[in-house]
Point group: C2
Chain length 372, copies 2
């Protein structure tokens, strides 16, 4: 079945909204944070751990799975859920972002994007149709339209042409989409230009997708600009469809996104931070490599209910990170992901109680102590 | 408390023996295989997974923990069990093997071994007393005497002097041992020389340790020589103390060791194989990188009860290994460790039923199909 979003409560004092997303794998509450499993695995975690941190939708990357192991193998495995043993909803991106950020020698034409594989230099062509066909085979619950994700900044003229092309690509992708149990999201682009964001939002909505993403954020722009990118487009999106802010996972940005009516977030930040020995805490990010944690036999967060904080100390996790033992990255990944998911749980409660603004202020004031 | 070995059944047809080891953390059956957690972590696994594969004693390395994070930090954490959150018995080695195999510019004197740290080149001195003092602080359940582990082969003259020195070192270490809840094992050396192995065994037993190891195996000698090294010494070891064959983890070698009366084994092989994409199966070792597993959607071993085989396919594990995702190494580590532990479970059953020789033949005949 296609996903179904139900708006259950709108915050009295902001655009924050609490709702549910009905999926092939059960119904989940929003706003939600989606862990990223680039290569059909959320780095270092197994799927039991994903369930334990209360993950709902997880993300996987079409570009990476297309190159390796290939969508046909995932298809033969019975789809991505069976392939990676995840008994929950999966969203696949279009591959566009990776083609634009990872691949070499890109050549963007009306047909699609010609590029060289970042793995072996092979010449490849990703088109809107191909992206959807790959995602159909991956059999994710939510597929994304293939869009151009230009760097920041580009000229108004470039962005205008890009938005038009992304709309034509969205139509072409939708036309070939052929998977009854898979929903398809459209993507609003337009950079920091208000009229282009508005235009992109209105025209994308006309194509009638199952949900809408706000793209082109977290590509180098400042926070203020990112918020404008959301504001300019979101008001034209239907209230009965989910809204997804792509690539955003800084805790403070999640609050700002929710404030503006966003339902879904994803980001590699929690697992990437973990690889560098960093952990989220309510008082800001900490670097476990710091010598002051050498003899700190307390958990990263006393109140956290994750496997890392329940069983292991800062001193031990620090030792693992310094000794380059992957259990260190794994424990930090579990903690960082759980931290963001827990935030969204608290956010949902606060929206239901119309106390979102208070919770947002309280969280951000404390979180910025260390980080600003 | 010190460990206590109880011999419960001796195989009618061989020297194989079934018994129990009473420890500070409960009573465990022998023969047993002990996973190696070099740096206070069995690579890629957390301690819950260790329990799930039915681990009993695990090993950790004194040399590594001495260098990083340092025994004082482990001591302040409340000992190694608390530091790494392992609620089961831990054996620490003496550091000798690592000093001889990893360190640079070794200088062996009567006092001990001067060497340069493999991490930062620092000049260090490890003595029999220091090794025991570090292990006392690590607070493992079983400590090992500091011995010289010469390469293979050395001359008879060298080995004779080495055995004498190792005996003097054993005495010195025992004299300073000071941890009521920690047992201390002596190590039989002597290379491939029958009279030296006999001498080493008899003299080491005179020192009255809580258990005895057979050292100097798996250092380059052929299998036949390894078995002689066991045979020459083991008959002089008391039957009421556990016997530990250091560094041995090839399935066929475990059978040969058990046949000769060994109770405990350890080896990095299962986790090292995992890092290279290899898995134990009843039909021999397989290399998951092999293209023939690309579309193999069956578990590594249909009958295996490990988390890898219960939930994941060869094709998926292969994808993870090829894509360099650490979950691949982790799943293979879980499988390979469980494989060896399961073998020892079966071995124990077979000894109790006096069918060890039949089981040994059946296992080895099948296992060698692929590997020989």
């Amino acid at each position: 079945m296609k996903i179904k979003y139900t708006l259950l409560h709108k915050d009295k004092n902001s655009n924050a909204r609490y709702g549910t997303l009905q999926t092939n794998y059960g119904t989940f509450e929003t706003p939600m944070f989606m862990p990223v499993g680039t290569q059909a695995t959320v780095k270092t975690l197994d799927t039991r751990e994903l369930k334990e941190i209360n993950s709902a939708v997880i993300l996987s990357n079409t570009y990476h799975l297309w190159l390796r192991p290939g969508e046909d193998i995932v298809d033969k495995a019975g789809g991505l859920h069976k392939f990676m043993n995840y008994n929950g909803p999966i969203l696949t991106d279009s591959g566009g972002f990776q083609v634009f950020s990872l691949a070499k020698s890109k050549d963007i034409t009306e047909e699609g994007v010609k590029f060289k594989s970042h793995l072996n230099g092979e010449n490849l062509l990703l088109t809107p149709e191909k992206s959807i066909q790959i995602q159909n085979k991956l059999d994710s619950d939510i597929a994304m339209s293939f869009d151009e994700c230009p760097p920041y900044p580009v000229t108004y003229e470039y962005m205008k042409k890009s938005v038009e092309r992304t709309l034509r690509w969205a139509k072409r992708g939708k036309a070939v989409h052929n998977n009854e149990r898979q929903s398809l999201f459209g993507i609003v682009q337009g950079g920091e230009f208000q009229d282009l964001r508005e235009y992109s939002a209105k025209e994308t909505v006309k194509l009638d997708f199952d949900g809408y993403s706000i793209g082109g954020t977290s590509v180098g722009e400042d926070k203020e600009t990112m918020m404008k990118m959301i504001d300019y487009g979101i008001k034209y999106l239907p209230t009965d469809k989910p809204r997804y802010l792509m690539g955003v996972g800084e805790p403070t940005d999640i609050f700002e996104g929710v404030l503006r009516g966003i339902d879904m977030f994803d980001c590699v930040l929690p697992t990437r931070l973990a690889r560098h020995g960093h952990a989220f805490t309510l008082d800001g990010k900490i670097n476990l490599k710091n010598a002051k944690y050498k003899e700190d036999f307390t958990p990263i967060d006393n109140e956290c209910d994750c496997e890392c904080c329940k069983h292991y100390t800062k001193a031990y996790v620090r030792h693992l990170i310094i000794a380059n033992e992957t259990l260190g990255q794994r424990l930090l990944s579990i903690h960082n992901l759980r931290f963001l998911i827990k935030i969204t749980e608290n956010i949902r409660e606060s929206i239901k109680n119309d106390t979102f603004l208070e919770y947002k202020k309280e969280f951000i004031d404390r979180y910025r102590k260390l980080n600003n």
